[in-house]
Symmetry: C2
Subunit: 403 residues, 2 copies
């Protein structure tokens, strides 16, 4: 698969927070000649937060990881790419137990602090012996780099995704680093997004979960490629506690802001690797009756096949944005809508502006980053959504093969 | 535009119910060499029902037609293709008034019993003089056939859509005939579906509206091409009262059943003309906690780009159906899901059946009518949804041009 035209030129420079080690290995289960397993080990006392797919058919790893997150602490996180262990019934649940108990014995840590994450084919039983055979290599290998880790969790991602940022808390430099995968496809499977983020700060499980959920709403929950929700979507956030404790509201706010920037960076990289994507689209909704309403209007625009194909065609088709706002099921008033593309305002009083000039809008449509702004004119709710266009590439990736 | 491969071979034989006349004309507004206007005139006392788009940015004709339907009676219905008069602000509302008052004067009928319906470009002011100039021709022309009427309301539909059926009520043969358009596209616009249905039975406005809404839920509200909702979607149902009165619950049930068959016939024709469609997909959901829940699960499957591209690729990718059920936001239990394609049951107890044989399913995927059945296993709610696959043709129609 060719590297996405929207990919960043290089993998970023990233710091490994103290208290975590990375190791990768090749199971040979599905992919040849590349690592497809990642083991993250954490020091004792590392707290854990997570957000997971809302799917009613969530994978076995997701069901198990929700329980580990509820416990609040983590010592090891095992990831495999190539088999999602989803819709595998009781056998799938047992596979997770087999993996975590074998890893607990190997690492001498409690099984209740070991999470697993799987991505790949669904409906195929997971071959655990194939993974367990690599536990020796994973636990004796020298630490892998973030880039090697990001590569090991890829399925058909066209580039490895990582992001890192620091903030100053109580005079100390706190690091937040993470990797993600998505939203490539592997037949006969659906896209999945996974993210693994680590900080060296000390934060209680409850505060960490709150930060994770809040930053997640403004990042991973604000992106869409094709409106389909995976059975395996997962974000893990671990705090090793090897650096300063983050306890006050002011410090938590700083931490959360930095976490949000890391999560947004990773989330936007996922959109940049959206199947067939040729343009990154940022949608700002303002003036809605609430933030939640703005979010739903933004997703209605970002999920609209007609909006996304118009952008693929570099067509300044603002009428389709009107349509998408109208179908969102949220309060809106035709006569108060203010739609702008690339900063050029197009509508007023329920119609096209009399002085509307399409030339600058058409010029903006030819760039590879498109900005849509919609002011609903009813309240103060805001949201920002990222998506990509819908191209022949999407159809080619998802339809042009036979199983 | 080439005729859809899923189009029926010919336009059906159709009866014109007593009490209605059809006339078509060419305004020359957008299309050359074809009629683009339809005038339906009804005898005095004709009752009217309708269902309209739920869009918050509904077109001027829809806003006006809702009021006419609320009045319950109709004498004339004017349709134009090529300009949707949507998102045209106050000017658009005034255009509707200009048309209905001119037509009221011409026909000597109350303006409150004249409805208009428009489809085509949005955001462009409607040139009413261009339409009014054809009123003389429309009111003096000989009656057009249903096929001519169905052709006059096309935008980029690849075939004319009509359906007709009869039922016996109190020893009389009642006719229900109708035409529809959708879901072609015209740049820079969105798809719109319109349907105009007439019966010669005598039915009160209230009973007619109830029948229309009920049959609509099982037909036009059960189809999806790309999940996008037009600003102009409208279904009009007129009863001229030139035949037997339908008053008893038993007779209304017979009428409603026949009406539903006509509406389903038209609705399925719209899906057969879905942009780029190469396969008609019927989705039966059973065992949901309610009919409404089944409907939402069916739409989640029918709107999923991953399900639709898999079918375009003739890939027996049942995992994507699991995913779509999971994302519907409705009660579902992985271990109770029973998914069948082409009558072949694939899953049980949350996983693929041990004896699953893909060969007959793969064979079914090569046909041009695909059947998906999903039993949720939780209740008695059922729904049937029709959709089409998502192909390169959809992208070509909607993206492969510049404005």
């Amino acid at each position: 698969m060719e590297r996405s035209p929207l990919a960043p030129p290089t993998f970023p420079a990233m710091t490994l927070p103290a208290g975590v080690t990375l190791a990768t290995a090749a199971s040979g289960m599905k992919y040849q000649g590349r690592d497809d397993m990642l083991l993250m080990q954490f020091c004792e006392g590392t707290t854990l937060a997570g957000i997971f797919t809302k799917s009613a058919t969530a994978s076995a790893a997701v069901l198990s990881s929700r329980e580990i997150v509820a416990g609040g602490y983590i010592r090891a996180l095992l990831v495999n790419a190539g088999n999602a262990n989803a819709f595998t019934g009781q056998v799938g649940d047992e596979a997770v137990s087999t993996l975590t108990s074998a890893l607990a014995a190997k690492l001498h840590v409690p099984e209740t602090q070991i999470a697993t994450s799987s991505t790949g084919v669904i409906g195929e039983p997971l071959d655990t012996s194939c993974l367990i055979s690599q536990f020796e290599a994973l636990t004796t290998a020298s630490t892998a780099s973030w880039e090697e880790a990001a590569n090991a969790i890829r399925t058909t991602d066209t580039f490895a995704k990582g992001a890192s940022a620091t903030c100053e808390i109580a005079g100390k430099t706190v690091t937040i680093s993470g990797i993600a995968k998505g939203s490539g496809m592997i037949a006969p499977d659906m896209a999945t997004m996974l993210a693994f983020i680590v900080t060296d700060a000390a934060i209680t499980p409850a505060a960490l979960q709150k930060a994770c959920a809040s930053a997640g709403d403004r990042s991973f929950n604000a992106i869409t490629v094709d409106s389909d929700t995976s059975t395996s979507d997962s974000v893990y956030l671990a705090a090793t506690g090897q650096n300063v404790a983050v306890t006050s509201d002011a410090d938590l706010a700083i931490f959360c802001q930095t976490l949000q920037s890391v999560m947004q960076d990773l989330a936007i990289q996922i959109v940049r690797d959206g199947e067939g994507a040729s343009k990154l689209i940022t949608i700002d909704v303002t003036g809605a009756v609430s933030d939640a309403s703005a979010h739903r209007i933004g997703l209605a625009i970002g999920n609209s096949p007609l909006v996304k194909t118009a952008i693929a065609g570099e067509d300044a088709n603002w009428g389709r944005i009107v349509m998408a706002v109208g179908k969102a099921g949220e309060p809106a008033d035709r006569d108060k809508l203010d739609i702008a593309i690339g900063g050029h305002h197009i509508t007023e009083r329920g119609q096209r502006r009399p002085d509307y000039d399409e030339a600058p809008v058409a010029a903006h449509m030819t760039s590879d980053e498109i900005h849509i702004a919609v002011d609903i004119g009813l309240g103060t709710g805001t949201a920002r959504i990222w998506t990509c266009d819908l191209t022949h590439g999407y159809i080619t990736i998802n339809a042009d093969y036979r199983s």
